[in-house]
């Protein structure tokens, strides 16, 4: 077993376990923290697939920005702990069945679709930060500039609406 397989197994299992734990916990804050763990493990799996850029974005945007927002909202809402005992209602059972079915479907299709195939060379290069940066700053350089204008307009607009003093 080479080192990549070991890393993949460790993080893949952690991803599945943390996802299940996230859904089953009662306390929303603990759920959110398991979600962070899940995001991190998925980021590592992206790295293994040579998609550096998506891995970095996963860490920066999802783990950094969005999860902080999640946690803040949960804390601000000040949720009371739900004391109701868990019951195996119809809703829960259908939800579990559907998710198992979906997992089976996706798992089999991915397994049989990519069985014994290697990643081709082009795909290997696409995900790297280097190739993405090269494309962005050559072919799509106009769009980078235009997106800059878009973001600036959004910031100016937001500040104008929020900050201006109205007599």
């Amino acid at each position: 077993m080479n080192i990549e397989t070991i890393i993949f197994l460790v993080f893949g299992i952690t991803a599945v376990v943390s996802a299940v734990l996230m859904v089953t916990r009662k306390n929303p804050i603990i759920s959110a923290i398991f979600l962070i763990l899940n995001f991190f493990t998925v980021a590592v799996i992206y790295l293994l697939l040579k998609a550096q850029f998506i891995a970095i974005i996963q860490v920066l945007v999802y783990m950094g920005a969005i999860m902080v927002l999640f946690l803040f909202v949960i804390m601000l809402l000040n949720l009371k702990e739900n004391k109701k005992p868990s019951e195996y209602s119809f809703k829960k059972i259908t939800a579990i069945l559907i998710s198992i079915l979906l997992a089976l479907l996706l798992g089999t299709s991915v397994y049989f679709g990519f069985q014994g195939k290697q990643m081709n060379e082009v795909a290997e290069k696409i995900g790297t930060a280097e190739s993405l940066g090269r494309t962005l700053f050559t072919t799509y350089s106009f769009h980078v500039l235009a997106a800059g204008m878009l973001l600036l307009a959004a910031i100016v607009g937001a500040v104008m609406l929020a900050k201006k003093k109205f007599e």
Partner: protein
Amino acid sequence: MINFNDLKEIIPLIIIAASALISLLIAVYSKKSGMPVYVFSLLAVLAALIFTGLNVTKDVIIISEMLRINPYSNAFCMIALLSVFITFMASKDYLEKLGINFGEYYSILLFALFGMMTMIYANDMLTVFIGLETMSICFYVLTGLLRKRMKSNESAMKYFLLGAFMTGFLLYGMSLIYGATGYTNITKILATYTAIRTPMFLIGLALFMIGFFFKIGIFPFQMWIPDVYEGAPTVVSGMMSTAGKVAAVGTLIPVLITLNLVEYKMLFSILATLTMLYGNIVALSQSNLKRLLAYSSIASAGYIMVGITSMSDLSIKGIAFYLLAYVFMQLGAFIVVSVFENSTPDGKDFRNVTFDEYKGLAKRSPVLAIALTVFLLSLAGIPPFAGFWGKYYIFYAAIKSDLIWLSVIAILLSVISVYYYLKVIVYMWFKEPEGETSGEAVPVKALSYAAIMVSLAGTLLFGLYPDLFFTFFKFLIK
């Protein structure tokens, strides 16, 4: 790759982008007076207008095939620039009266203009998307500018939520088209289109068009228009209903006409009919001029749809002329309404300015009444004004491509529209003024006056000499 030679083709775009940034700085350094930023942005738009006009016959594809400068896109760009120019002229007085004359207003409007031009020049779906988003985000901000009025906040919120939702449709459509063809480049997609009329491509195209129909205000996606135009500052409503429409139509039409979806003509005709019906029938029961103009803008989206349905070069010509006329008459009408709103004694609070308050306007200030009458008659399509020729060219193109029943419906509905336009005119000319302000002239500041005069001149000029437009855009007559 942007190389130096490409830059000189997009000078107007660069002028607008640079002036949007510079006007922000000017606004910071001249907080006391709104004059420097006002003059600067007017000059910037004028310069861009002149540069586009000088190079109107260019036909190139530049910047890694991301932008396409051709006579069509130049024509639509010039119309959008003209609309923003007239809006700028009228903005200062109106905004000052409401206490919202911020320098940032001008730079946001310039950003919006940058978005529109990017969109019209776009030759890649990614460019279309970024341009459309820049324009939309600026529109959301401008709609909510009257922060103290509930209506303005409400309309900004509605517009934002619906707009964001519709952007999702557009983006999903783009990704499906990319999936079906393997290209994001519009020229390449259009070249391969006949070979790949797959369901995936058609669904993608439908979603793509839904995104644009929302912006133009075609029937099932027109619900937001009256509320948004009523709540937004009046000059902004005028700008959105003209420049915004020009940008969306200017992006969509070249694509649709090249695709030549003859088998979907029936669907397009039904959409056009429903749009015209909805706009014209609902407008009959309105009592607020701003809402009336919003419904009439839905009706004109229907007339544009008639042009899209006929899918010929003749109809592009008609639509371009109609949009030019539309800028003058619709924007002119909105500016007159804005001047009138400012004159009401409690102009600072929101109030519905109903037809009743226009009673006897002809006695109070004849010039305003004449201007508004001309704009409304032109919107109705009465002969000596520009609006008539716009409708004429569109319906002519429709008849030429065997859509006689559609043109009959369109003409009948324009006849119905005369009723509600004339109602306002009757209130202005044949009723006595009443209320506390009766007899006083409506105060008009010099700059708004100039804006009204420019719109009036345009409506009359292109009404009397419609050939002027076609002599300038020689390419439109082939």
